[in-house]
């Protein structure tokens, strides 16, 4: 896997929506980064020790630059949001399995993202476009309001359909509403977002008889599969744990929706 802890350098940071920050970092982790994988970012102040798992939004593999787009949720991310250009930051990566690009081959693909689950969809859309194996790629993203962060970036690589909770842009409602409203069809779904949305995608895939890959979240400690903190319930016994638990940081974060009990 070639995981390592390394010191990255902040190249750019900006708040792109209320409490949502967009940061580019210089790190050679970019070279091996896969869409759907995440980085563990380590804050330093106020006694915070554990890393913040943040999904990779975009990776410029040639230039060795990684982009993360994250929401300030607590002390750690608040500290992160205050970092200026050239500030050094400890990151552990690349973690997790990432989305299976091959599964898109010859298929009509939905990339659905909700809120802070939208960022990983960018690198995914980019890679699918580059490989060009998918028959079609539609990005369906759900926002709280009119602050449509990353929408323009996503439009570079695929057709984007928007839903907003307050109806201030796109379809009023969630990604499911946007799919219905726009009469969209797919053979494969790749999703990241809040649990209700993931459950909806899982249900949708079951009804349509298609496969859905969903990226799960859980409080993590080690990020490398040692502590067993971030598990999810699995339908079958997990091959590693030999119980009905899979490690989100290692077997995941991306799972076949039908394999997990959410």
């Amino acid at each position: 896997m070639g995981q390592k802890k390394t010191e990255a350098k902040v190249l750019y940071q900006q708040e792109i929506a209320d409490g949502i920050f967009d940061m580019w970092m210089e790190t050679d982790l970019a070279q091996t980064a896969k869409a759907g994988q995440f980085l563990s970012v380590y804050p330093r102040n106020g006694g915070t020790l554990l890393p913040r798992p943040i999904s990779i939004c975009e990776a410029d593999r040639e230039a060795g630059r990684v982009r993360i787009v994250y929401r300030v949720a607590g002390k750690g991310t608040a500290e992160l949001s205050g970092y200026h250009v050239n500030r050094k930051v400890n990151v552990l990566g690349n973690l997790g399995n990432g989305f299976p690009l091959d599964a898109a081959e010859g298929k009509r693909v939905f990339l659905t993202g909700g809120g802070i689950g939208i960022p990983p969809m960018l690198q995914l859309a980019k890679d699918l476009r580059q490989e060009g194996k998918a028959e079609s790629v539609a990005v369906i993203v759900g926002y709280r309001d009119h602050q449509l962060f990353l929408k323009e970036d996503l439009e570079k690589y695929a057709r984007v359909y928007v839903a907003t909770e307050d109806g201030s842009a796109g379809v009023k409602g969630n990604v499911m509403d946007a799919i219905a409203e726009n009469g969209l069809e797919a053979d494969v779904v790749m999703a990241c977002g809040p649990m209700p949305m993931l459950r909806a995608m899982k249900r949708y895939a079951r009804e349509k008889g298609i496969v859905a890959y969903i990226s799960l979240e859980e409080r993590m400690a080690c990020g490398v599969g040692a502590c067993l903190g971030c598990v999810c319930r699995t339908v079958e016994k997990d091959a590693h744990s030999h119980v009905h638990n899979a490690r989100i940081c290692t077997e995941g974060p991306v799972f076949l929706a039908s394999d997990v009990d959410i």
């Binding site: 390592k4 502590c227 067993l228």
Partner: protein, 300 residues
């Protein structure tokens, strides 16, 4: 310069080990550190059968530490012996297997199964605060600790380390009970029982409500308990609790520990164990200490 230490006749190339439950069975961290450089790998607790562990969230961050309530999820002794032992045997490091159970019989079954493996020592976990039955119940009363220790000793083919709970009034009394029952060594501290509440959701952060506190926050309590236990018993002690660097490790050695284990800090810096090994050597170099054993319990 000698960094070797001996515990119950088992020699360790250096006194730096991993704390049970923070290092899996070594596989995950072998990506980051050369296991051959460690005195020993202490495995995640293993039971007679697979354990599902607790529901999530199992992790909460606290100031200078963390709470965990994994609940000893483990694949069971069969998988452990078939998969994890062979992996560890490839390395030139000692293997200490942490044993957990809900009943005395559970413990004994695992202890017997391990008898004909290459495990160098057994660490009996009688202090996990995150499982209802067994575990900590055995570790908080001197007489029950005495009972399980002597029962295990009767069956064990390897030297036995009893891992003590810090959630007690008198750690010295517990240490003496384990020694009296024939324990070959002690390890301490397991985690301190703690709790975190999300004041915005008005809910417990951990599904299990309480969890075990570890990390630098607990180090002063751990050092104190190792010191008190070392004053009370003759058997060697493996000290742990918030060790983040060589200086922390040396504190435990000076307090009376014969070896130390790195726990939660593996999660913060996966290279901590080897950095501690290197740092201890630099310290011995700097102060001209020939034999690491001269440091043990040498605080004044």
């Amino acid at each position: 310069m000698n960094t070797k230490v001996k515990i119950a006749g088992v020699e360790f190339k250096n006194p730096v080990m991993t704390a049970s439950g923070t290092f899996g069975s070594g596989m995950e961290y072998s990506e980051f550190v050369d296991l051959n450089r460690l005195g020993a790998v202490v495995t995640k607790g293993v039971a007679n059968v697979p354990w599902e562990g607790n529901p999530t969230p199992r992790i909460a961050e606290t100031y200078g530490g963390m709470l965990n309530a994994i609940g000893l999820q483990n694949p069971g002794i069969d998988v452990f012996v078939e998969r994890d032992m062979p992996f560890l045997e490839k390395y030139d490091t000692r293997i200490i297997v942490n044993v957990c159970g809900k009943t005395v019989e559970d413990y004994l079954e695992v202890v017997e199964r391990l008898g004909d493996t290459k495990a160098d020592m057994l660490e009996i976990n009688v202090s996990c605060p995150n499982v209802k039955e067994g575990a900590i119940a055995f570790g908080q009363k001197a007489d029950s600790l005495y009972g399980i220790t002597s029962a295990v000793k009767k069956k064990a083919r390897q030297p036995v380390i009893m891992k003590l709970s810090p959630n007690v009034t008198d750690i010295a009394e517990m240490a003496r009970a384990a020694e009296a029952a024939g324990a070959d060594a002690l390890s301490m501290i397991n985690t301190l029982t703690g709790m975190k509440i999300d004041v915005h959701k008005r809910k417990f952060v951990l599904a299990n409500r309480t969890g075990g506190l570890s990390g630098p926050a607990v180090k002063p309590v751990a050092v104190r308990m190792v010191y008190q236990a070392a004053q009370a018993v003759k058997i060697p002690i493996i000290g742990m609790g918030g060790i983040a660097n060589a200086e922390d490790a040396l504190e435990f050695l000076l307090a009376g520990a014969t070896a130390v284990a790195v726990g939660a800090m593996n999660f913060v810096n996966p290279y901590t164990t080897v950095e501690v090994v290197d740092g201890i050597e630099e310290y011995m170099e700097k102060y001209g200490i020939e034999d690491i054993r001269s440091l043990i319990g040498s605080v004044e």
